[in-house]
Amino acid sequence: MSDNGGPTREEIIDRLAGFALFGDLSPTELRALAHSFEEAYFNAGQVVLRRGISGSGLYVIVEGRASVRVDGAELNRLMPGDFFGEIAILLDKPPSADVVAETELRCLVLGGSQLEQILIAHPRLLYRMLQAVARKLRDTMPWRS
């Protein structure tokens, strides 16, 4: 693929295998799963996930960095392998923060309704996601850890 087309589907599958979220899946499972995701590209400064707008998806960062912000104040920074949007889907509520691309950003995106099916079909993925959500919880409420 050209320099400006980002990683190929095969390269994306290889990279996913290196991300903690997908670490327990076999290559065949990963390949089937990767086909459920759409790819998306964002320019630096673009809002990826918007506070208060319902019906958002799950995003996994493949390339680039993003920033989690509330009223412009940065709460967290996200890197390749990080994912976001899962809490809004699990609670069926609009996101409570904005996620903004800090650099050119390439993500995989999954529609909210597909997340439940995928988590139920892949309990190890569910467990990894639970771990990540627990980590976020601990980071926001340090006195409880």
């Binding site: 693929m1 400006n4 087309g5 589907r9 086909h35 590209y41 019906g55 958002s56 309704s113």
Partner: protein
């Protein structure tokens, strides 16, 4: 300025540019209009319908919701042209009927195309693009690429480059009494399976993920109902096998092909024999040498990354029309794509694009009208009930009213919803139809007042009619901060 491509995307864009008085040239390497419809679909009928009889008259704007195949026009005489070419045996036009219709529109609306003109290379000189073509050089600050997705794509499966692509499939009779293996379970794979169903001895369709059907996805992204027959054959255990499996290798031998697949659900690899293999693995964009100038693309379709107004995210002045506009993803609520991949979606993008180019690059101001406050709610509910743009480009295009201090309520027209959401300085309202994962349709209302954006989802109407007192009350309540909606008495 220059438009490249004479498929429906290029023709529709040129039509609206001309209506706005924007001088431009349309270049096409083909020798007649029609684009992909000059060759595909292979099995002759489209998957998009045109209903000859509908609740709206054929010359009305509201008819467009029932006619997914006509280019749109300002003048009544050029509206809803497809139905006139159809012979009444199906509400899916035949490929040839569609091709004739596009040629007819081109003649009637006087869309001028320089045929046989091949775009060869591109360079930048200051703020201009210089196109070298078989017809000499063109210099332009604004370029619209409407070259479609026409480059056969094959995923890197060992041996797959040795088999014919969908684009090279032979006449159906070539598959008589053959065992045929089709790589891909999207519309083109099922279209092939359906086309050769009466002839083939056995058909195997395989790809890693389960097939997704339009009756479940509620969008054209799924396999359409008219191609479901091979799947029913699979479920009833006839001569069709549908496999969720990775294809590991395709090896040609004297008598045909040996294919190794690994089931997605786990387990050992399996070997299969087939007489014929077809790659129904889709098409990529043809963007010439623009990637070398800095154009960003994404996904294996090589879709150009775009702004909400279909301008390249990285190459200013380069815009897209036609099916390439699916690269402007919008806000994808509930994971549902726009209809921009298909004519019934991108024809509206073209109208908005032409106006945007006229205003942004040619200093042409398209007049807007104002509304009385009492008219806002009835007008928006009428649009939500019948506007084709809002029903066909759900959660993607929206009717926008802005509140401007010196003018009052201004009808900004139909605009990309994403643009309204990103326009932090615009006070007003955008309304569209939203579809959720359960398949329910309801109005979604976005209100921005004092730089604060709020979302309001109105009630579902089983009869798809939002001109009710209940919806008027809900909408008026949503508009209250803007002081433009009077609640009904």
């Amino acid at each position: 300025m220059v438009v490249i491509g004479s498929g429906p995307g290029g023709l529709q864009t040129s039509y609206f540019l001309s209506r706005l008085g924007v001088p431009h040239a349309v270049l096409s390497e083909d020798d007649a209009p029609g684009g992909m419809f000059r060759r595909w679909p292979l099995f002759q009928r489209l998957i998009t319908w045109t209903k000859p009889f509908s609740p709206a008259p054929r010359t009305s704007r509201y008819y467009e919701r029932y006619d997914w195949n006509s280019l749109i026009a300002e003048e009544e005489a050029n509206r809803g042209l497809v139905a006139a070419f159809m012979d009444g045996t199906s509400y899916f036009p035949a490929r040839r009927e569609m091709e004739h219709n596009l040629a007819d529109f081109t003649d009637r609306a006087r869309v001028a195309v320089r045929y046989g003109c091949r775009w060869e290379s591109t360079r930048r000189e200051g703020d201009r693009y210089v196109l070298t073509t078989s017809d000499g050089e063109y210099r332009t600050p604004v370029l619209v690429i409407a070259t479609g997705l026409t480059e056969p794509y094959r995923p890197p499966i060992p041996g797959l480059d040795e088999v014919p692509h969908y684009a090279e499939v032979k006449a159906p009779d070539a598959y008589r009494d053959k065992r045929v293996f089709i790589v891909g379970k999207r519309n083109s794979g099922f279209e092939l399976a359906d086309g050769i169903l009466p002839l083939a001895r056995q058909i195997i369709l395989a790809s890693p993920s389960p097939a997704r059907f339009a009756i479940h996805t509620h969008t054209i992204a799924g396999v359409r109902a008219r191609y479901i027959q091979p799947f029913e054959d699979h479920l009833l255990r006839g001569g069709v096998l549908v496999l969720d499996a990775s294809i590991e290798q395709i090896a040609r031998h004297a008598a045909g092909y040996r294919i190794r697949v690994r089931p997605s659900a786990g387990g050992e690899s399996m070997e299969l024999e087939a007489d014929e293999v077809i790659a129904a693995t889709g098409f990529q964009s043809r963007l010439g040498d623009l990637p070398a100038l800095g154009l960003r693309t994404f996904s294996h379709y090589r879709l150009p990354a775009q702004t909400p107004f279909w301008e390249s995210a990285t190459l200013p002045g380069v815009y897209f029309a036609g099916t390439l506009t699916q690269g402007a993803l919008g806000i994808r609520k509930h994971g549902i794509s726009s209809a921009s991949a298909s004519l019934h979606g991108f024809r509206y993008n073209a109208r908005i694009l032409a106006r945007h180019i006229a205003e942004a690059h040619f200093g042409i101001r398209v007049p807007t009208r104002t509304l009385r406050p009492a008219d806002a709610v009835p007008y928006l509910l009428s649009e939500l009930t019948r506007a084709p743009e809002l029903w066909l480009q759900r959660s993607y295009l929206a009717r926008v009213l802005s509140v401007v201090p010196e003018r009052g309520i201004v009808d900004e027209g139909v605009l990309p919803l994403h643009h309204f959401i990103e326009s932090a300085d615009m006070s007003g309202v955008a309304v569209t139809i939203e579809l959720n994962a359960e398949g329910e349709s309801y109005p979604a209302v976005y209100v921005r007042h004092a730089a604060s954006l709020s979302e309001h989802l109105l009630s579902v109407s089983r009869l798809l009619d939002f001109e009710t007192d209940a919806h008027a009350k809900e909408l008026a309540a949503a508009l209250a901060p803007l002081a433009i909606g009077h609640p009904p008495r």
